[in-house]
């Protein structure tokens, strides 16, 4: 509206901290999915900046992770459950997109549920296999340092099948060629985050390692996990976030320091065919490339403790623990915003606290982040000019969304 000035809006609906944000592709313009600490989920029309669909988990468990896949809203929550939700009526959504503030939100129904270990902070990876078959990568039920891989059919409640169970990749890591044995590393620590790209699942570990894994299934044998990439770029700090940089085709990882690990795709895009398996040493269902070496490439951002990392239109968006959202180009901050807290603190305990000596925190914690680049809209048919105009206004900008502990989501546009 105001030319190219950055615009900032606040999405208000959550009453508690927004723990997960995810941009979901939609027609004509993507929508934003948000989840909070009390199990409330909303889908936001970003053009009207209003939620059009919502769901409240009965358990009121904190939402950890949201993914939109084949019209399923896949939700991982602190009640150790991964749920597949489906909108009751998808067509009605578009029509009511422009209705007022007061109309009732569309609701979801639960289609499928899987139990998942959520004692850690890790998200999961869900990929679509075939028809209603999905594969899930997550932390092992008992041990958050190892991973499990499952397959299931969302139309069949009892179809859960464990492909890989409790794989611990510690041994694989220390086998990496150039790992200096002088460094102390007695275990991997828990898995901090998962990211899937192009069939490869990336894991960020508490010990600061980033691994690229693939699952190879051969008939008659147990599936093999192929370790195709290892990086110790963050060692010994934990990996906090992973994201994919589309423009440079690399995976990025963040940690508690200012380093951003850059993981080039070429280095680990292995064609896992029969013949190449020979180059791997296979042990306990884990295949490791014989010449596997650590690739530690990194860039540095002007901030540290980056809890959430995103990348869009060539810009890095980092949310750090001091509540700041930074939009960076290479290592230069282009734009930065945060929410400040008022000075007068409220003592919420009748008994008094032990934190008295602690300096009051002056910012509001940012608890989640998502971003979306400029969109080229398809020909908008059957949409009135006013709506089209508004949608275009949105689509011509890059946006990032930061969720805060006070339940608000800042929708901020930035220059690219």
């Amino acid at each position: 509206m105001q030319g190219h000035q950055p615009a900032a809006y606040t999405l208000r609906k959550h009453e508690t901290e927004v723990t997960c944000l995810k941009v979901v592709s939609w027609e004509p313009y993507p929508v934003l999915a948000s989840g909070d600490a009390k199990g409330e989920l909303y889908l936001w029309n970003l053009v009207t900046r209003r939620p059009f669909a919502g769901y409240k988990l009965e358990t009121k468990a904190q939402i950890i992770y949201i993914k939109w896949l084949n019209n399923y809203l896949i939700v991982l929550s602190k009640d150790h459950t991964l749920r597949f939700l489906q909108l009751h009526n998808e067509t009605a959504v578009a029509i009511r997109g422009w209705a007022g503030n007061q109309f009732e939100l569309q609701s979801f129904k639960i289609v499928y549920e899987v139990p998942v270990n959520t004692l850690n902070f890790a998200n999961v990876v869900v990929t679509h296999m075939r028809e209603s078959q999905y594969r899930l990568w997550c932390c092992n039920t008992m041990d958050s340092e190892s991973i499990d891989v499952y397959e299931f059919d969302v139309k069949e409640q009892r179809s859960l099948r464990r492909l890989v169970s409790g794989i611990n990749l510690y041994k694989a890591i220390i086998k990496a060629g150039n790992w200096s044995t002088g460094e102390s590393l007695d275990k991997t620590g828990i898995v901090m985050c998962f990211l899937e790209h192009n069939g490869v699942v990336y894991l960020g570990y508490e010990c600061g390692f980033v691994l690229g894994l693939q699952l190879v299934e051969r008939s008659g044998e147990n599936p093999t996990i192929v370790v195709s990439y290892v990086s110790s770029v963050h060692y010994p700090e934990p990996v906090l976030s992973l994201c994919y940089n589309e423009r440079e085709e690399v995976i990025l990882s963040s940690s508690t320091n200012d380093a951003i690990g850059v993981h080039a795709l070429q280095a680990h895009s292995v064609n896992v065919s029969e013949s190449e398996i020979a180059f791997f040493s296979i042990e306990e269902g884990i295949a490791i490339k014989r010449d596997l070496t650590l690739i530690n490439k990194s860039i540095h951002l002007p901030t540290s403790k980056i809890g959430h990392l995103g990348c869009v239109d060539g810009r890095l968006i980092a949310v750090d623990w001091s509540g700041r959202t930074l939009v960076c180009e290479k290592d230069e901050t282009k734009f930065c915003f945060s929410k400040q807290r008022s000075n007068v603190l409220v003592d919420e305990s009748s008994a008094g606290t032990f934190d008295q000596g602690k300096a009051p925190r002056c910012h509001i914690k940012a608890t989640s982040m998502a971003c979306i680049g400029k969109q080229t809209l398809r020909e908008l048919r059957g949409i009135r000019r006013g709506e089209k105009r508004r949608t275009e206004l949105c689509a011509n900008r890059s946006w990032c969304f930061t969720g805060y502990e006070d339940g608000s989501v800042i929708m901020q546009s930035f220059e690219t």
Binding site: M1, Q2, A8, Y9, R12, K13, E15, E17, A37, K38, T48, R49, R50, T59, K60, A61, D79, W98, G100, N101, Q102, L119, N120, F121, S144, I190, E237, P238, T256, K305, G307, W321, K339, R341, S342, N343, V344, L345, V346, D347, E348, S349, S350, G352, K358, A359, R361, I364, K365, T367, G382, R384, R385, G386, R389, R390, Y404, E405, G407, S408
Partner: protein, 1042 residues
């Protein structure tokens, strides 16, 4: 027939006989002024008149008979004026009765009679005596002449004879015409007479003569007589006369200058050179009379004559027509229209030289007859005329010449309806209009004002009913008459309808492109014009649009969108954007409001209204950006802005929310709040508290919950800008609204003391002692029940406890270890849980949820802090708010107490303030505190009394000799002392506070102190009131008054 005639004979016979007695008198005896003669004539006339009225037609013989005495009378030397009049009447009757049927009029008789009648009416050629005669005489003359002309016409039509074909009769004809014209010109007060003269002439020209050739001889005389009449100053000439004259004028000109009759051919240019020549002198006559057609007849009306006389006519009309237009009389205007129309119909070519005049008159009259425009030349002339007017538009505006503007509007409309309007002209007009109007406004407003507006404060606005419309309409353009404004908008409307869809886009975007030098007025005028143009253009579009569809087929199905109702013009959005930009520009410059900026905002609002009406349903999606600026203006310090904001809001509400502004606000409250938060983030606090207050009231507490982050911004602003008294006051007013809404939501609003609802908690520090009702007993017994009661409030905590959280705790510890080098920063993923787990042991009793309770604590926290502010108003505001908040905090007793201990000291200090207004509210607040916290404040209360005794100026006034009750004081303790009202009010609240403290602490306080307190209370309050509070108080009171 014959019998009727004989009856007629018999009827007139006695009168004739009677008259004969006079008329046949010898000349020397005959008295021309004889009354008897007059009576005779009159009785004859009466009889004839009756006959005429009966509609009888009689034979000439009858006339001959009657004429016998008349003839002899005429042979007399002279005749008196009245007698002549009667005589003329008789002749007149005879003409209609006997000589008006075909063939009944003898040619010779006619000749004699006509000459005779003219002579009788006026016996000299110059008509010197005529006008001295009575009007009735002149009227009779006119009537007789008319009757004669009529009779001649009948004879002519029947073919018996043509009276005026005989040149012998022409002198009489000329005389009769001069008679009639003189009568017409000389009797301004005798309307009927003038009309009669006109009628006679009408009959003469139209029916009797109807020959251009003859009339052409007398045309000059007629024209000058008519012009002389019509040019008489002011309103001398009656409109009816004017109209009839014009009609007669038209008749005469149409006959004489008839294109058909004259065989006029228009000379049309045959090659380019001629065309160019013609273009250079467009108004020169290039017509000729095709004289060959007349077959060598010798004619008066040849080309020379035409050139000469048409110029005269033009000159005459040039004088007459514009003057008549100025009279601005409906019937005259109509007559003028007919006049022009008739002339253009019959004499377009021969009076070609008058065309320009006719156009300008027709334009003034807002009636351009089709006859004028039919030809290329006509339209060209019209265009030139309009163009000419357009170039003088700045004059029209300068002098507020509404008529001129209307003429331009009419001209455009006409051109448009004949499809000969080009867009350059429209565009040119639009832009000159823009600069004229904005210059004019600027001048006017510079000349008349000092520039700055009187502003009204925020509370004035809230005090007024914020959303009810003041019905009086206000002018939009400042310092300009509403009529001019109305005219201008009509003109714009017309202009708008003349635009094509594509064209208007260009024009409007050009209008709305401002360079840096554009003044506020210029921008506003551009916007206002654009909105009006677009509105008009949108109204016409559907038809214009369809035509292209019919003739063009589009390969791609892009056109299918046209199946939907017509898309709005893209530029509408540009207008909305400009409107918002203009409003924002003013609102963001916090400098004092000037007239130009006020105008800018007002126009912005008006344009939004126009666009909302134009866009219809399409406007709904725009509310996201539009509504806030409009609503914001509702709180403007300028009453004009408020007015237009109201009308615009109401118009939007009418279109989309059935007229309910409440619904409009409620439905878009998210956008409004967001806009406010953006503003607050930019530290623009103007009007924000006012707006938030209104929104809070509209949205209720559920809304407030969703904009907690906005409140956080406000708290932050308080952190930074606590020095600004007004700002703080407004924020605390807002907090008061929020607290009220919260109370309304969670606590029954009718419940004066919500504390009583707290049945489940026993607040006493000696619990379980201190239970007040059976429910509390049951509660103690049924401990397990507690969990279920407020389950949802701490459900999340439970779920945490249920977790097999061992691993997590382990990890928390680990992360702590990892981070221990960094300053004590929070550990992102865990902090939320660690703080909340701190409350795990708390039981939440309050009906107010923890979040909202937290908000209350925050408000009180800021209250505490700002109570040290020097502002008196702010202190009072905060204390009043606190008195309301503490009872609400008391719903969670254990959380209340820390806050009480924090706030106590400062409030006590304020209760000792020498400003009694502050002391009063401070005491009230203390009373609430004591009431809510019970025995928790015992020690503090006792200390408070010490402080009061030592430092309270209030107490010093009530008991100047100390507070210890003495024996002497007892006697006047029976009734309270008298104090000035403010002091008294403060003392009452102090006393109430003391009483509350005594009731709460009772036996913890020493009796001496209680006695002192009660003594003070008795100085202020009636004994009965004090006694009634508790048993102990009753005892003390009776002790003291003994």
């Amino acid at each position: 027939m014959a019998s009727r005639e004989s009856v007629a004979f018999q009827r007139v016979q006695p009168h004739c006989v009677n008259l004969s007695r006079q008329s046949f008198l010898p000349r020397d005896v005959f008295n021309p002024n004889s009354v008897v003669l007059l009576e005779g004539l009159r009785s004859l006339e009466e009889e004839l008149k009756q006959l005429e009225n009966e509609g009888v037609s009689l034979s000439p013989k009858f006339a001959d008979y009657v004429f016998v005495p008349i003839a002899s009378l005429l042979r007399q030397d002279s005749l008196g004026s009245s007698q002549t009049e009667a005589l003329l009447q008789v002749i007149g009757h005879l003409v209609s009765l006997c000589w008006s049927s075909a063939g009944s009029f003898n040619k010779a008789l006619a000749q004699q009679l006509f000459a005779l009648v003219t002579f009788l009416i006026s016996n000299d050629k110059d008509n010197t005596c005529l006008l001295t005669k009575t009007p009735s005489f002149q009227l009779t003359g006119c009537i007789v002449l008319r009757k004669l002309f009529k009779a001649f016409a009948i004879q002519k039509a029947s073919g018996s004879f043509d009276h005026f074909a005989d040149p012998q009769n022409l002198p009489s004809l000329g005389h009769s015409v001069t008679i009639l014209l003189d009568i017409l010109g000389g009797n301004d007060n005798e309307i009927d007479l003038q009309l009669a003269a006109i009628e006679a002439l009408h009959v003469l020209y139209q029916e009797t003569l109807n020959d251009g050739e003859i009339i052409s001889f007398i045309v000059p005389g007629n024209v000058s007589a008519f012009s002389k009449l019509l040019l008489k100053p002011g309103l001398t000439v009656n409109p009816r006369v004017v109209c009839s004259t014009l009609r007669l004028f038209a008749v005469i000109i149409c006959i004489v200058y008839s294109d058909f009759d004259l065989h006029v051919v228009e000379h049309s240019p045959s090659d380019l050179n001629e065309l160019l020549e013609e273009a250079e002198k467009p108004f020169e006559t290039n017509i000729a009379i095709n004289e060959v057609d007349f077959k060598n007849r010798n004619l008066h009306r040849d080309i020379k004559w035409l050139r000469a006389t048409s110029a005269q006519i033009n000159r005459a009309l040039k004088g007459v027509l514009p003057k008549l237009v100025k009279r601005d009389n409906g019937s005259i205007n109509l007559a003028l229209c007919e006049f022009i129309s008739a002339l253009m119909k019959h004499c377009r070519a021969s009076l070609n030289n008058c065309q320009k005049l006719f156009f300008s008159v027709a334009l003034e009259l807002h009636y351009v007859p089709g006859e004028l425009v039919q030809t290329l030349e006509g339209t060209r002339t019209l265009k030139l005329m309009v163009d000419n007017k357009v170039t003088r538009i700045s004059n029209a505006i300068q002098f507020e010449d509404i008529k001129a503007l209307q003429t331009i509007q009419y001209g455009l409309q006409t051109l448009y309806s004949y499809q000969c309007l080009d867009f350059e002209m429209v565009d040119g007009l639009v832009f000159s209009l823009k600069s004229c109007v904005s210059d004019f406004l600027e001048q006017k407003n510079l000349r008349f004002t000092e520039g700055k507006l009187k502003e009204q404060g925020g509370m004035v606005i809230v005090g007024q009913d914020f959303l009810t419309l003041t019905e009086t309409s206000q002018p939009l353009l400042p310092k300009i008459s509403t009529a001019l404004e109305e005219t201008l908008s009509q003109l714009l409307h017309t202009l708008g309808t003349c635009y094509s869809r594509d064209h208007i886009q260009g024009t409007v975007s050009e209008l709305l492109t401002f360079d840096g030098s554009e003044s506020g007025f210029g921008k506003a005028v551009s916007l206002w014009m654009s909105a009006n143009l677009l509105k008009a253009a949108s109204e016409v579009l559907p038809d214009a649009h369809d035509i292209t569809d019919e003739f063009m087929t589009f390969e791609n199905d892009e056109r299918k969108v046209a199946d939907l109702p017509l898309e709005p013009i893209e530029t509408c959005y540009a207008i909305l954007e400009s409107s918002v930009a203009l409003i924002d520009e003013v609102n963001q410059n916090s400098a004092a409001l000037h007239h130009d900026s006020e105008f800018q905002v007002v126009v912005g609002l008006k344009s939004i209204q126009i666009m909302s009406e134009t866009l219809g349903e399409e406007f709904r999606t725009e509310l996201i950006d539009i509504l806030f600026p409009v609503v914001d203006c509702l709180a403007s310090p300028s009453s004009a802005i408020r007015h237009f904001a109201q009308t615009t809001t109401l118009s939007i509400a009418k279109s989309f929310y059935g007229g309910s502004i409440h619904d409009l606000l409620l439905d878009n409250i998210d956008y409004l709040v967001d806009a406010i938060s953006v503003r607050l983030n930019n530290c623009m606090t103007k009007r924000v508290p006012t707006l938030l207050m209104v929104l809070c009231r509209v949205g209720g507490y559920n809304l407030i919950k969703s904009f907690k982050d906005v409140l956080e911004i406000i708290f932050r602003l308080l952190d930074f800008y606590h020095g600004y008294e007004d700002l703080c006051c407004e924020f605390f007013q807002l907090f008061e609204v929020i607290v009220t809404e919260m109370r309304h939501t969670y606590l029954s609003s009718t419940d004066v003391s919500p504390r009583l609802k707290n049945e489940h908690s026993v607040s006493s520090s000696f619990k379980p002692w201190g239970m007040q009702n059976i429910l509390q007993v049951l509660d103690i017994l049924d401990k397990t029940g507690e969990k279920g009661i407020h389950e949802e409030d701490f459900d999340d905590l439970d779920s945490n406890q249920d977790d097999p959280g061992t691993f997590q705790e382990f990890f928390d510890k680990r992360v702590h270890e990892v981070d221990s080098d960094d300053e004590d920063e929070d550990i992102q993923p865990t902090e939320g849980q660690s703080t909340s787990s701190g409350h795990a042991s708390d039981k939440w009793f309050s009906p107010i949820p923890r979040d909202s309770y937290r908000l209350l604590l925050q408000i009180v926290g800021y209250g505490d802090r700002l109570l040290t502010h020097p502002s008196r108003q702010l202190k009072v505001q905060i204390l009043q708010l606190m008195s309301r908040v503490f009872p609400m905090l008391a719903t969670q007793h254990d959380m209340l107490l820390p806050q009480v201990s924090k706030s106590w000291d400062i409030i006590v200090q304020l209760s000792l303030d020498p400003d009694f207004a502050i002391a009063k509210v401070a005491c009230e607040c203390l009373r609430e505190l004591i009431h809510c916290s019970g025995d928790f404040v015992t020690k503090r209360f006792v200390d408070l009394w010490g402080a009061q005794k030592a430092h309270s100026p209030l107490l010093g006034i009530a008991a100047p000799k100390g507070v210890a009750p003495t024996l002497s004081s007892k006697k006047w303790l029976t009734s309270p002392k008298q104090f000035p009202p403010i002091t008294r009010e403060a003392l009452v609240s102090l006393s109430e506070m003391l009483l509350e403290g005594i009731v709460q602490t009772e036996l913890f306080t020493s009796e001496v102190q209680i006695q002192e307190m009660v003594y003070c209370c008795l100085l202020v309050l009636p004994k009965e009131h004090v006694q009634s509070r508790s048993l102990l108080l009753g005892d003390i009171v009776s002790l003291l008054s003994l």
